[in-house]
């Protein structure tokens, strides 16, 4: 019996809790609380597995029928960020991502390459996801770990860069948002915003509250899921609408989708609950070693996502995303679970557009259009990573993806470059140049990321 046999024999629901427990002991966490949290992590995976399986088993055949009967070619199922996160943590890279990210963060902090101490251990999954796709592509564990380290390093700098902007706009002093998904859109949003300003679109104001009232339907995942399920069911049963069983199927699919949209995130919260002691351990460990220097505490962008401009913009973007999904010919992704993740896509763009909903929606539209192509492009790797992480697909034909992180441009950038020597060279060069030019021109860079210089600011 080899180590590999033990790893695959035990499965992630047993293995990850054990690893987290041992890891937590290293941080000298209280044993009883740590033990329960470790068990909770296993429970979280069980929950996620259940819902993912239910989702795939119900939606896959319906989507397939829809493709056959209507020619709407969207065979790639959007399983959403809950599944992406589970796949990331459950994969081989997931086992390493927590220590690797802490190491990268610590080294960069000591070298003054970052001021952020990223205590948001839950969101390390984004880095493991990138690494997991690279591992699926190359079968090279070290390359996968390197990819996740590069992802983490770039995101830490993105967090520093946007920190003054988000601190001011969201009134969150001392915080940065090194979020693998939200921060990835900042380099794209900045030039787009500049362009839209040149077109004087910053003069057009929209009121978030009235948008929330009129478009509220699109912000409610349960109703969204219900309607989406009904539509897919309807299209899939187009040829047999004269039978009662078709209509039963349509209604069942509606409720099934509503259920998935509502329950899936709740299962994830169990996993998050389990990671809390580790998060606090990391936080206290790093703070104790921060040696009196100023630092930002890196947190989840969820703390800013409630802002009216983000909610309103993402509500408008939901129907836009659905239309784009159908009209873009190269897109094969059937958006579903991740229609609910759009606020996270725009939350770090908002300080750049100064809360201007029109500009945010236009930028969001462009990002989603590109994202659909990325998500389609990465779906074979996404699916392979899921299978490697021991998630069962209902059939060999099932392809999955997501917006977060399946359509993440930074993930795509790293995955597509890392498989060649010149690609790795480009990544290292990008990192080095980004770091150098940002750190030598901090105030100017931070201004274009949305920070506003106060009149009597001490330099």
């Amino acid at each position: 019996m080899t180590l590999n046999d033990i790893i695959s024999g035990l499965g992630i629901t047993v293995l990850l809790p054990i690893i987290i427990f041992v890891f937590g002991l290293f941080f000298k966490l209280e044993v009883k609380r740590l033990f329960r949290s470790a068990v909770l992590i296993g429970v979280g995976f069980i929950g996620i597995n259940l819902i993912l399986g239910y989702f795939l088993n119900n939606l896959a055949p319906a989507a397939q029928k829809m493709v056959e009967f209507t020619g709407v070619h969207l065979p790639v199922l959007d399983v959403g960020w809950p599944a992406a996160a589970a796949i990331a943590f459950a994969g081989k890279i997931g086992l390493f991502v927590i220590p690797v990210t802490i190491l990268v963060n610590f080294l960069m902090y000591i070298l003054h390459w970052t001021d952020t101490i990223d205590v948001d251990v839950w969101n390390y999954w984004h880095f493991a996801f990138t690494g997991g796709l690279v591992y699926a592509l190359t079968n090279n564990l070290w390359l996968g770990i390197l990819a996740s380290a590069i992802d983490a390093a770039l995101v830490l700098i993105l967090g520093d860069w946007t920190a003054p902007a988000v601190q001011q706009y969201y009134d969150i002093p001392g915080i940065s948002l090194p979020h693998g998904f939200s921060a990835a859109y900042v380099p794209i949003a900045i030039p787009l915003n500049w362009l839209l300003d040149k077109l004087h679109l910053d003069k057009v104001k929209a009121d978030p509250e009235s948008i929330k009232k009129r478009w509220g339907f699109f912000g409610d995942p349960v109703i969204l899921g219900l309607v989406l399920g009904l539509i897919v069911g309807f299209l899939g049963n187009l040829k047999s609408l004269n039978t009662a069983s078709s209509w039963f199927n349509i209604l069942q699919l509606g409720i099934a989708m509503a259920g998935v949209m509502y329950i899936f995130p709740k299962m994830v919260s169990i996993l998050m609950d389990g990671l809390i002691p580790i998060s606090e351990g990391v936080r206290d460990f790093m703070k104790a070693r921060a040696s009196g220097r100023k630092f930002y505490i890196g947190l989840d962008s969820a703390i800013a996502v409630g802002t009216p401009a983000a909610i309103a913009s993402s509500m408008i973007l939901v129907p836009i995303a659905i239309v784009l999904m159908v009209i873009i010919p190269q897109n094969q992704m059937l958006l579903a679970v991740d229609l609910a993740v759009l606020p996270f896509m725009v939350v770090m763009t908002i300080p750049i557009t100064r809360g201007n909903i029109l500009k945010t929606v236009i930028i969001g539209t462009i990002i989603i259009a590109a994202g659909l192509l990325i998500g389609t492009n990465l779906s074979p790797l996404f699916t392979k990573a899921a299978i490697q992480a021991q998630f069962k697909m209902p059939s060999n034909a099932t392809q999955i993806s997501s917006i977060c992180d399946g359509s993440n441009p930074l993930t795509w950038f790293i995955v597509r470059l890392i498989n060649s020597w010149y690609g790795v060279a480009i990544l290292v060069a990008v990192f080095a140049l980004f770091l150098y030019f940002y750190r030598t021109h901090r105030k100017a860079w931070e201004k274009i990321a949305g920070s506003v210089e106060a009149p009597d600011e001490n330099k």
């Binding site: 919260s269 998050m272 996502v305 009216p308």
Partner: protein, 97 residues
């Protein structure tokens, strides 16, 4: 032990609100409160106000409510947790001390 119901709000209703709920349950029980927490998203606050004694949020809330609100990141950053608990106790109308 005084029973209180706290609405914990964050952007998603599951991410940071889970952390904050745990902390509130832990720390407020030491102050003599039996805490029941409910989590929701910022957009759902107005639907979840029934019987709530205090709202604790990590994200901006735009609704106008009559219930005391605390917006804090202290439970996430570990900085200022005690002050945040003190404020919570005050807004709940005093604890065992």
């Amino acid at each position: 032990m005084r029973k209180v119901k706290i609405l914990v709000v964050c952007g998603t209703g599951i991410a940071t609100s889970t952390v904050v709920s745990r902390k509130l349950e832990e720390k407020l029980s030491k102050e003599g409160f039996e805490v029941e927490t409910r989590q929701c998203k910022a957009a759902e606050v107005s639907e979840n106000l029934e019987g709530v004694d205090l709202i604790v949020s990590t994200t901006p809330i735009s609704s106008n409510v009559n219930i005391p609100i605390i917006r804090t990141l202290a439970f996430l950053t570990g900085i200022g947790e005690d002050q945040a608990i003190e404020e919570a106790v005050k807004k709940l109308g005093g604890g065992k001390s």
